[in-house]
């Protein structure tokens, strides 16, 4: 029973919040810097009612989803080709190796110069960040396929196209999902950074504006909202992985 329910997993975070609330109320810390959890919740509710938080989330999600979806699709397609075809690997690998170490946030200024101050430069920054992670993990996935499976497929009479669709793609799926999970995290980091500049909408903008106005409760609210987005994205990917890879128990 103990093993199955593990009550400490609930007690521990609740206790943390209670102690935090208590310490702040006793006046041990400056409320302007570390507000009490209950007052942060109050602020979140206010921001939700006046619409600022939901609109900020929608603006950010729009950028994240576009960048994530296009970046993932490109990354998967390119990764499968690089992993499977030697010529594609030789053509693409040096480019990836040279550009991968650049922090993707550092490309944002260039993208603003090239694509303007609107949504495009933000979406492309996110797209690039996701693309690299998905690409690299997809390549790893293709290369990690047990050679005996390729041999078996060949022995059973599969042609090259069938080996690609029936063995290489499903074989790479688990690693593709690793890439997607890392990519989702990267997308949230990059949306925050791109919203520091050239926008009046988005969770990153709201957070940064709140900081500059020293509205610490609002800063906390936005931080928590980012966290919730992170959790939701990882749940959705887990659900998707269960649906697409029923042979893997995740």
């Amino acid at each position: 029973m103990w093993r199955r329910y593990r009550p400490l997993r609930i007690i521990s975070p609740v206790a943390f919040l209670v102690i935090w609330e208590g310490v702040v109320r006793l006046g041990e810390v400056n409320q302007l810097i570390i507000p009490a959890p209950a007052s942060v919740l109050r602020t979140m509710i206010d921001l939700t009612i006046d619409g600022r938080l939901p609109w900020a989330i929608i603006a950010s999600l729009n950028r994240v989803l576009q960048g994530f979806i296009y970046g993932s699709l490109l990354g998967i397609v390119l990764g499968l080709l690089v992993g499977w075809f030697r010529a594609v690997e030789d053509a693409v690998d040096p480019l990836v190796a040279a550009t991968y170490p650049i922090p993707k946030s550092a490309l944002f200024p260039l993208f603003m110069l090239w694509f303007g101050l609107g949504e495009t430069s933000k979406v492309i920054t996110i797209l690039i960040g996701v693309l690299f992670l998905v690409l690299i993990n997809t390549v790893t996935g293709v290369k990690a396929i047990d050679p005996v499976l390729l041999k078996a497929a060949r022995d059973l009479g599969a042609n090259q196209r069938q080996i690609f669709t029936k063995v290489v793609i499903p074989g790479a799926l688990p690693n593709i999902f690793t890439g997607l999970r890392l990519g989702a995290g990267m997308a949230l980091i990059l949306v925050f950074i791109t919203e520091l500049e050239a926008t009046k909408a988005g969770l990153g903008f709201l957070l940064w504006e709140s900081y500059q106005l020293l509205l610490v409760k609002q800063v906390f609210s936005c931080t928590i909202a980012f966290g919730i987005l992170g959790i939701l994205s990882s749940w959705m990917l887990q659900w998707l992985e269960r649906a697409v890879c029923p042979w893997k128990r995740v």
Partner: protein
Amino acid sequence: MATILRLKDIGKVWHIERTKEEVMALGGISLDVEQGEFLILVGPSGCGKSTLLQIVAGLEEPGSGMLEVTRAADGQKQTGMVFQEYALFPWRTVLQNIVFGPEARSVPKAQREADAQKLIDLIHLRGFEHRYPHELSGGMRQRVALARALANDPAILLFDEPLASLDAQTRKVLQVELVRIWQETKRTFIYVTHALEEAVLLGDRVVLFTARPGRIKEIVPVRLPRPRSITGRREAELLEYLSERIREEVDRSLKAEGLT
């Protein structure tokens, strides 16, 4: 009996890129395989018996020599391989694994699944059709691998140490099963093993390989009635004889490597 497969002086040399060495794996194998026989290939490790199997399967090119297979009328692939590591597709259920070959040949879905059901009955796995490989025991996985190879209806089945990674109990059960399936399907079985006990229990003929480079040292016919028992007197005598002959080769290869 009709010859189904004729090997003429098959040789194979491996080029090791890193050291620029050339290793002769097979040094000229000539052999006629009879239609419907259970042929065993045994020899010290590294003698090239698995390589020969891959060449027969068409998965490796022979370096030299000729290979003649009596073709089926419809020109379909004549061999099917069962690997030691099962090589089942983890993302496919038992049924989906078995239909892989027919699916690649675009056999209609209803027909290939009906055929697969017959094979599932043959390997006694009814009720497990929709399990994934990781939900099966090692013995069950190897039965699925056999059914998958049979689904292509090949005349010759190739086995590359199929029972080597199973526990002793499961191995015994599957040895009996293999003979039963061989008798029911009337296919030609070519079976690589290093377990001499299997050679005695399963084979019609045992081909003994020399140490590397692999050549045929001797072909031993097994004229014992089935079912055989490893505790039978004549089985024990044959086992003793085979071990003696293999030991000569192992000693020779150890000497060649300077280990004795």
